[in-house]
Amino acid sequence: MLQFVARRILYMIPTLIIVSIISFIIIQLPPGDYLTTVVTNLRATGETVDEATLAAMEQRYGLNQPIYVQYWKWITGILLRGDFGQSFEWNQPVSALIWGRLGLTFTMSLATLLFTWAVAFPVGIFSAVRQYSIGDYIATFIGYVGLAVPDFLLALILMYVAFKVFNQSVGGLFSPDYVDAPWSWSKVWDLLKHLWVPVLIIGTGGTAGLIRVMRANLLDELHKPYVVTARAKGMTEARLILKYPVRVALNPFVSTVGWTLPILVSGSAVVSIVLALPTTGPLLLRALMSQDMYLAGSFIMLLSVLTVIGTFISDILLAWLDPRIRLTQ
């Protein structure tokens, strides 16, 4: 197993290098270099451009040097100093902008993932075991509705209902009192009180999808001979289903963890905008629209890294769950 993990980590390295190169290319895509943008920008606001500042910047990003030197400066800056470059739109270091949002996004995504699994597992198992029962039909119907209704619509509906019926405003992740407050237990509690709305909205589509996946996987397994064997041993139905077919049906489930992670991070942009959430989605969208390339490129790279890490985690989980993968490499 250890060997397996080590090999996987080794495989990750070239992938990560390629990801960083692509992100760097994206940053370089808009015409003109970074300095030109800064200068135009500053001129537009009527400020004078200090020659000394320009020279310092040129030095920092190696702009007068070949492209691979620029890349090298950029990537070592990130790795050694956590310096992702400057966002000209916000006139702040990218790192100052993204970490807080990334943390909240991650919290929200994790909560959504847990919600999705907590619902999709039992419902999917039930749907498969009681195939074509009324419960199965209801779950299937709700699932399709969940898949079909766009998230932003659900967000609007939920905001309306919350406001009309419960007289509660559901935008944002914090109450106004807590937005700028330092972290405390009451702030965490406030976060939890707001979190369920986006979790519910973002989670429905994924939950509905996972219910279908779980149901289909399990239906494939339920009539396998090893289930009959377990039954012939005298096990109770509930125990044998959880121990054997559900365990096997978990494999395709786990292999989806890899791509759920980045989808949860980026796919929630629309909902985040509707609900005014301080997460990464809206910021990424804005950065792309205003060609704030260091910010956008950094986001894209972090999302890609998350995908790679997610795939890594799902590979490890898969190997841990399934001896056929672990032992027959």
Partner: protein, 360 residues
């Protein structure tokens, strides 16, 4: 037959599948008896309801299958506090998921299957699966169960049993897998082992080894074996009694020597004609295969289900009348209208025959 020798008494068993396309009458009035300590072979072409008969006994039918009629009397003998407790249980009346039938599954009646690869979990070690079978029915600790499992693996001829405990199915050969499966089935000392085509998926050498093992275990442990097969060679080698099944009914039952020497049902006769004969020259003579095919389950012939393929079909009779079960000797029945004629001389079923399986 001595009453206390009876192990299993199946009476008019009917099992049907209620599918969207109609009702499949997989088992349609099967009756047979099984004696304690014997090997009973159930033989017939594929699709004749052998597997479903076996599964009906344990009540492990897949949805939408159900035992709809009949009785399955299991004569259970258990040692309780050193005393023999005898009980006759009608398995057909037990709830399929109830505690009574679960108590019998794996403990009194165990089952092994055709495909050991797919019949064992691909992601659990064989040790895990055997220990689970032990601990389901016996009040032993984990380490005691482990010891017992290792002992079982040794008993079925698996080398280095302690190491093999942690092996997964894909790490074992076909023969070893089937041995592990047998070890699991034996784990609680069943009085009846149902083996559904246990050697069909194996190569010939391994097949012979597994059959030898089964025979040896049966004698050592004093259990009975219900062996399901489509291979008359296996029947000749293993059986005490044989039940010939065709399309969900029993065509013929009797002692294996009697049935092989003097097959009565035209289906049995055709089956015997279709195998190479031991000790007889077959050069120049091609083997007969049975005319036609097993009809599809939705279009069962009326009357005798075998009549469309039968060489001795009586027109206007076999296609209309369902043949009764005719007792033609002690422990010997046939279900064929040829023998339903009053005044027809009943042949002595035990008449000495010149050679085994002589072509009639």
């Amino acid at each position: 037959m001595n009453k206390s020798d009876l192990l299993l008494d199946v009476i008019d068993l009917k099992t049907q599948f209620f599918t969207d396309d109609g009702i499949v009458r997989a088992v349609d009035g099967v009756s047979f008896q099984m004696k304690r300590g014997e090997t009973l072979c159930i033989v017939g072409e594929s699709g004749c309801g052998k597997t479903i008969t076996a599964r009906s006994i344990l009540q492990i039918l897949d949805y939408p299958g159900r035992v709809v009629d009949g009785q399955i009397f299991f004569h259970r003998v258990r040692l309780v506090d050193g005393k023999e407790v005898r009980q006759i249980i009608d398995l057909a009346t037990l709830k399929t998921r109830g505690p009574e039938i679960r108590d019998i599954r794996g403990k009194d009646i165990a089952m092994i299957f055709q495909e050991p690869m797919t019949s064992l979990s691909p992601i659990h070690t064989i040790g895990n699966q055997i220990m689970e079978a032990i601990r389901l029915h016996l009040p032993v600790s984990k380490s005691e169960a482990r010891e017992r499992a290792i002992e079982l693996l040794r008993r079925v001829g698996i080398p280095k049993p302690a190491e093999r405990m942690d092996a997964y199915t894909f790490q074992l050969s076909g023969g070893m897998r089937q041995r592990a499966m047998i070890a699991m089935a034996l784990s609680c000392g069943p009085s009846l082992l149902i083996a559904d085509e246990p050697t069909t998926a194996l190569d010939v050498t391994t097949q012979a080894q597994i059959l030898d093992l089964l025979r040896e275990l049966k004698d050592d442990l004093g259990m009975s074996i219900m062996l399901i097969t489509h291979d008359l060679g296996v029947v000749a080698e293993m059986a005490d009694d044989v039940v010939v099944m065709y399309l969900g009914v029993v065509a013929e039952q009797g002692n294996v020597v009697d049935v092989f020497h003097d097959p009565r049902h035209p289906y049995t006769q055709a089956l015997l004609r279709s195998i190479p004969k031991y000790g007889l020259r077959t050069a120049g003579k091609r083997l007969d295969s049975i005319r036609g095919m097993v009809p599809d389950p939705y279009s069962r012939p009326t009357g005798c289900p075998y009549h469309p393929r039968c060489d001795r079909m009586i027109p206007d009779k076999c296609d209309r009348i369902t043949p009764p079960t005719i007792q033609i000797g002690e422990d010997r029945v046939v279900s064929c209208l040829l023998y339903d004629v009053p005044g027809l001389p009943t042949r002595s079923y035990n008449a000495p025959q010149p050679a085994l399986c002589e072509v009639r």
